[in-house]
């Protein structure tokens, strides 16, 4: 076996490890998550029975933790797609090990985020009215459109590059896993055998999705921001909200990606593939976006604050020095400047530093979403006392259940789907080797001979090995 084959075999065994080996700790973690989700479901049943009165949302502050969670999760979902699509489009070679995880985060976070809209509705069955009586002048309608489009697109974008790896799993694991998973691999791999024609067609599908998903993702979070900025509310009256939301979405998305990567790397010993380089690059991305967010925030608050109007003054006071000051300054100092500082100081330019930055960013972005939603509604429209809002136990339970559900879906997906794009990583590795030693005859040959990508060549023997009848 040449070195490339050895390298690839190692990668495959590492990738299939979560699928094949399950420790008791996995089950403990899984039950823990199910417990939390179960509590959320139980609390939701109360809301279902008694209505939204079990929350603290009332007529004046009518959006709270649920909408915060909605915006937060939709934000996280930008991790995947934007990271993986932009990196793919810009042919950043280091992206290969990162993309799959990022794409999974996207699909899963979107599912969770979209369900928070339903949870926020006192009469969830009325969601159908959007389809029956939807008016396209309404930003809510744009949101439904954008998120439906994004969800479909990101599932396809997750699925298409996974086909060769699913085929690999089909060939390698069929006799090692149960019937359920075998069935999944066989159906989802749609007869992938890695012929040049298939490769070409798949390449087309991926390129189309890669290019189309970038504007879709940008539009999604812009439209989410429009739900706020197209409402007559002092705190939301901003033309830069779209930029703020999209940048914030990528920001929190990258942070979440870093966290998930760090955990998986630790558990499944993927140090070899998720190297310090990947974390640092993503860390730099965090720092860059942190700096950009600072810039956007200055734009937002300076233009408003310079010509401060009466309602704006109230909004500013509650944000800068009163009720929400802690959240706000934590967000600015910890969440936006924190990552910049952590990446600037050589000592903290480590994986741990990046992970700390990511935690800061995720917390800060959650707080940002919270105070944007709540402070915007809190500004009185008439001279009356400002309303107050504090999420109830039901709301917290459901929110935490949302987080747990997000993790649960990823936890389950790990056991079924290939978390690395084996074929893309092999491709990249091959390229790297050939770039390093173009004079080396052996490697050059192995490159020109090529490997049928995503499928073990020659394929017939593999078939028989792959649990054929």
């Amino acid at each position: 076996m040449d070195t490339l084959t050895i390298w690839r075999e190692r990668l495959i065994s590492k990738t299939t490890k979560p699928t094949l080996h399950t420790t008791y700790r996995y089950w403990i973690w899984l039950s823990f998550l199910i417990l939390i989700v179960g509590n959320g479901a139980y609390q939701y049943s109360k809301q279902w029975r008694y209505g939204l009165v079990v929350t603290d949302m009332r007529d004046r502050i009518s959006w709270g933790l649920y909408i915060t969670a909605f915006v937060f999760f939709i934000g996280i979902s930008h991790a995947g797609t934007l990271i993986s699509a932009i990196l793919r489009a810009s042919k950043a070679s280091w992206r290969a090990p990162v993309t799959r995880i990022a794409e999974f985060i996207t699909a899963v976070a979107l599912l969770v985020g979209a369900s928070f809209v339903l949870i926020d509705m006192g009469r969830p069955e009325r969601i159908f009215n959007v389809y029956l009586f939807g008016r396209w002048q309404s930003p809510i309608m744009w949101d439904v459109m954008a998120i439906t489009t994004y969800l479909t697109a990101s599932i396809i974008y997750l699925y298409a590059p996974m086909i060769p790896d699913l085929a690999l799993f089909r060939d390698r694991l069929s006799d090692k896993v149960g019937r359920f998973r075998r069935y999944i691999y066989e159906t989802l791999a749609i007869d992938w055998i890695g012929t040049p024609k298939q490769l070409r067609l798949l390449g087309k599908a991926i390129s189309i999705m890669m290019l189309i998903i970038i504007p879709i993702a940008v539009s999604v979070h812009t439209v989410v921001s429009w739900i706020f900025s197209m409402t007559l509310r002092s705190g939301w009256n901003s033309s830069i909200f779209g930029v703020l939301f999209v940048a914030g979405a990528i920001f929190s998305g990258v942070a979440t990606l870093i966290l998930v990567m760090a955990v998986l790397r630790r558990i499944y010993h993927w140090e070899e593939y998720l190297t310090q380089k990947h974390f640092l690059y993503l860390g730099y991305l965090l720092a860059a976006f942190g700096a950009f967010m600072v810039y956007v925030n200055i734009n937002e608050y300076l233009t408003e604050g310079f010509k401060l109007e009466e309602a704006g003054e109230f909004a500013f006071r509650q944000l800068f020095i009163e009720d929400f000051a802690f959240m706000f300054w934590f967000y600015i100092i910890g969440g936006l400047l924190g990552p910049v500082v952590l990446m600037l100081v050589p000592k903290t330019r480590t994986i741990t530093g990046v992970v700390i930055a990511a935690v800061l960013v995720d917390v800060a972005m959650f707080l940002e979403r919270y105070f944007i939603v709540v402070t915007g509604l809190r500004v009185p429209l008439m001279p009356y006392e400002p309303a107050s809002y504090m999420p109830t136990f039901v709301e917290w339970s459901i929110f935490v259940a949302g987080l747990a559900f997000f993790l649960l879906l990823i936890t389950v997906a790990i056991k079924i789907f290939p978390m690395f794009a084996v074929w893309e990583m092999t491709e990249e590795h091959e390229l790297a080797i050939s770039r390093m030693s173009t004079t080396d005859q052996d490697t050059a040959e192995s490159v020109t001979q090529g490997h049928t990508i995503g499928h073990d060549a020659p394929r017939q023997p593999d078939r028989s090995q792959g649990g054929a009848p």
């Binding site: 309608m141 749609i190 007869d191 067609l201 009848p469």
Partner: protein, 338 residues
Amino acid sequence: MTVATRGTARTLAAICVLVAVAVMIEPALAAGIEISVGAPGTVTVGQDVEIKAVLVQDGQPVEGAEVAVTYQAALGGESARVELASATTDETGTAVMFYQQRADDNGEMQVVYVGPEAEPVAPYTFTIEVSPSGEQLYTNQSGVSIPFVNGGLVILVISGVWFFIALAAIYIVRVGRAGRDETTEPVTASTEAGSMWISVILATAAIVTATGMVIVFVRAPVANTHLTDPHSYTRTPIAYMGTTYPYIGFGLDDGIGTESGDAATDGGVLYFEYACASCHGLSGQGAVIGPALMDEIGSFGSFNEDVREGPKGMPAYDEVTISDANLQKIYSYLTESG
């Protein structure tokens, strides 16, 4: 000097006499004025209607009289007379009034005499049959309309995006097909049935969702603009309340709960029912709009006069709106509680 003064005085006296004669001729007009009306028998909603009124007094045309055409408007369970148009008669005693038919039922219509005489003139009552039309009368005039920047563009963009998504899905279907073409024998037992269904489902889902979204857009019920049917929404009646017609409070003046027998108690109820409270405060203590009534209310005579007249910002309540008896009750409520 003296001559000039005398001459001026004489001229002034002459003018005065002329004016006096003119003034004395005028008041005779009001009595016995008769209104006759020419109006179409049926109109369609949205149509411009012409109402011609001729005023005659003792066989002579009445010039310079103001008349108005009104109809019985019903809104939210309440009904009131609403002015549609008004005009002043010319030297032939004719006033031509135009209005656009908005309601789908006019009820009893009237041409009423508004002025200049205070003496009541019997209104001319008539009916016009209204046939409905699907036409939308009210379109939003606000905003800037830019050619091509509209719902059609949005649909174009959405369709474009979904076209590419569907295209990608179709490529995935073809990936599966390419695999099956190359394989002579089935890959595994279950792929024999054709594991391609997953990609077919994907493509179908993408296409169906895309079409569905466009359909939602196209058939969205929209008030002001609509892609397929610009007039498809049910109109809400819009009533224009004329200024010359008495204020009737908030439609609560039906006298419910005023049979207690005690004038002051009933008066308290009426005070609310005629919405006096909305301006004069909950117990007549005065509020943002109207002054306090309890203390400086004075005699019933002056009270009555004030209410009938409607001083300054206050609407005038005539005898038809509030009967003297009811006003008396309100008066006793205010005096006894004050």
